[in-house]
């Protein structure tokens, strides 16, 4: 990619960015604004999940634990303290600290195990946190959860939209930087062939823990944003469905691609929203999970690389075949001369 000529993909990103920047001013539907904000928030969550699944090849079923920690941290801070910026800052600090420590501990204890054991253990830890949130009623109000007030700036739908957008873009840039760094390259290698990475002299466990901590902390941020957008939090933020949503978004959008999770999050959020509207037409649409299940199976069977992944592969193939025909032409030229 040269600096003077942008690739089609960069142009697409710029157009998309401009569209998202002006969208709140041309659109006056609150529902759309909220929907877009949700997409941004879940994009962040899915991107963090993708770092594990797509780049490092780690399957986690408990990624919701970080999401939930962030959500509860902001909720409790806002409720127990007054809803000001100090509280928000405190919640952010608590989230970063808790997520980093938890992901580090979970990583150090379980990442040395084989992948499916790790998946099961993360599921258990997320379940443990969910039970804690349910039982620690004085702090969390149990299963029912609680509503809380937030600073005015975060209450305003338009400013929240922009805050979420900025966070999404920042996360995207951070991911880009991270995956192109020497560490990011090792993570991809671990996904490809763990044993070989070890025999090259890298300590695989350390890299997996790094990935887990980065992914966990970012997921915590998405949890904060999620709770702020609802101004409500209950135990469902720890539910396995949250992790599965991220899994679905990542796989449909494209595992191991930077833009995939964003596209996946957009598709799934829009589909959920659209299908719920269609529930008036036919009852089956109310059970959108059934439809999702079907789509999911089809995607895994026919587009295992997801939308972005398949597009990239197609582009790569085209480039190669172009090169091959060029080579052939040159060779035949050489032969005739």
């Amino acid at each position: 990619m040269s600096k003077t000529r942008f690739s089609p993909f960069t142009i697409l990103l710029i157009v998309l960015g401009l569209f998202l920047a002006v969208f709140p001013f041309v659109n006056d539907s609150r529902t759309m604004l909220i929907l877009f904000t949700q997409i941004f928030i879940f994009s962040i969550f899915a991107m963090s999940y993708n770092l594990l699944l797509g780049y490092t090849g780690i399957v986690s079923f408990g990624h919701a634990m970080f999401f939930g920690l962030g959500a509860y941290a902001i909720g409790i801070c806002m409720k127990k303290l007054e809803p000001g910026w100090n509280g928000v800052l405190l919640a952010v600090l608590i989230t970063v600290a808790l997520c980093a420590v938890l992901s580090f501990l979970v990583g150090i204890l379980t990442l040395r195990l084989k992948s499916h054991f790790f998946a099961m253990l993360t599921l258990a830890v997320a379940g443990l946190l969910m039970v804690t949130a349910e039982k620690w009623r004085s702090l969390t109000m149990g299963n029912d959860g609680f509503t809380f007030r937030v600073p005015d700036l975060l209450k305003d739908r338009i400013s929240l939209y922009f805050i979420a957008l900025v966070f999404m873009v920042l996360t995207y840039l951070l991911m880009r930087r991270f995956t192109f760094s020497p560490v990011g390259k090792v993570l991809v290698a671990i996904r490809e062939n763990e044993q070989r990475v070890e025999s090259l002299g890298y300590r695989v466990l350390n890299y997996k823990i790094i990935a887990n901590v980065v992914a966990g902390t970012i997921a915590g941020f998405s949890g904060i944003l999620y709770a702020v957008s609802l101004r409500f939090v209950n135990t469902s933020v720890f539910a396995t469905e949250v992790t599965l949503d991220a899994l679905l978004m990542t796989i449909i959008g494209g595992v191991g691609t930077l833009f995939g999770p964003i596209l996946g999050a957009a598709l799934i959020e829009i589909a959920q929203h659209g299908l719920m509207d269609l529930a008036k037409v036919h009852w089956i649409f109310e059970r959108w999970v059934i439809l999702f299940g079907t789509i999911f199976i089809l995607v895994v069977m026919f587009f295992p690389k997801g939308i972005v992944g398949s597009a990239l592969q197609w582009q790569f193939k085209r480039k190669n075949s172009q090169k091959a025909t060029l080579d052939k032409k040159e060779r035949s030229k050489a032969a005739t001369h």
């Binding site: 192109f180 020497p182 990011g184 390259k185 090792v186 062939n193 070890e198 890298y202 350390n206």
Partner: protein, 235 residues
């Protein structure tokens, strides 16, 4: 493996031969740390490495290639080698600097690919390479680690006959550099004889003979246990 005791001389090429199941690869696994011995000790440069895991042994200077092709399939050849160079350069935990910043590493990766005649394939995915090319890629990765000891497990296994001389060429080049100790498992006797400074023969997990090439060729025990049989197989 059963009470095999050998000393491997520095900067020499030693070949290991023996029939299938003799324990050649097991011997390598013990040296590189994939397996731990039930008893006995392994010393490397005077240091006891018996309990050391593979990662640390690599850092100490024991590099190995595998008999089964073992590369990163969905990465480009260049990236495969670059990762090895990166490890050798000690760039381990840089999280926010772009990998392209490390020009020296890129240059070295290209040089190594050229050395094993893969320069033109640098941007191809490793999965799309022919078998022999994968083996060459693996040797490039191994060289990138700049280990003093190279363990080559049948580098020519499964290669077409036209490809074999090129690999021999590569190994010869490394040997002539003179600063590496090479241990080679190989089935192609002519190649072994030409290249080796010494040969050790394994049979049923035991050390049958150890000496310079002529000595081994003239050893009756070796002839009957192994060489005769091999030539029958090969023809």
């Amino acid at each position: 493996m059963n009470s095999v005791s050998v000393e491997i001389e520095k900067n020499k090429l030693k070949s290991i031969i023996g029939p299938n199941g003799a324990g050649k690869t097991t011997f390598f696994n013990l040296l590189s740390g994939q397996l731990k011995p039930t008893n006995g000790k392994i010393f490397f440069k005077g240091e006891d490495v018996t309990r050391m895991n593979p990662t640390y042994r690599t850092r100490k200077g024991i590099g190995r290639s595998f008999q089964i092709t073992n590369v990163f399939p969905n990465l480009t050849c260049f990236e495969n080698v670059r990762l090895a160079v990166q490890s050798q350069a000690g760039v381990r935990y840089r999280m926010l600097s772009h990998f392209k910043k490390y020009k020296d590493m890129e240059r070295k990766a290209y040089e190594l690919l050229e050395l094993v005649y893969l320069g033109e394939k640098a941007m191809e995915l490793a999965i799309n390479l022919a078998h022999g090319e994968k083996r060459k890629l693996e040797i490039a990765m191994l060289l990138a680690l700049e280990t003093e000891l190279l363990l080559l497990d049948e580098p020519t296994a499964g290669m077409s006959l036209e490809e074999v001389p090129k690999i021999l060429d590569v190994i010869k080049k490394i040997k002539e550099d003179g600063n590496r100790t090479i241990l080679l498992i190989e089935h192609k006797m002519d190649m072994v004889l030409d290249l080796s400074d010494s040969i050790m023969v394994l049979f049923n997990g035991k050390l049958l003979a150890d000496g310079d090439p002529e000595e081994i060729m003239n050893n009756d025990q070796v002839q009957s246990a192994y060489l005769g049989g091999l030539y029958d197989d090969a023809s």
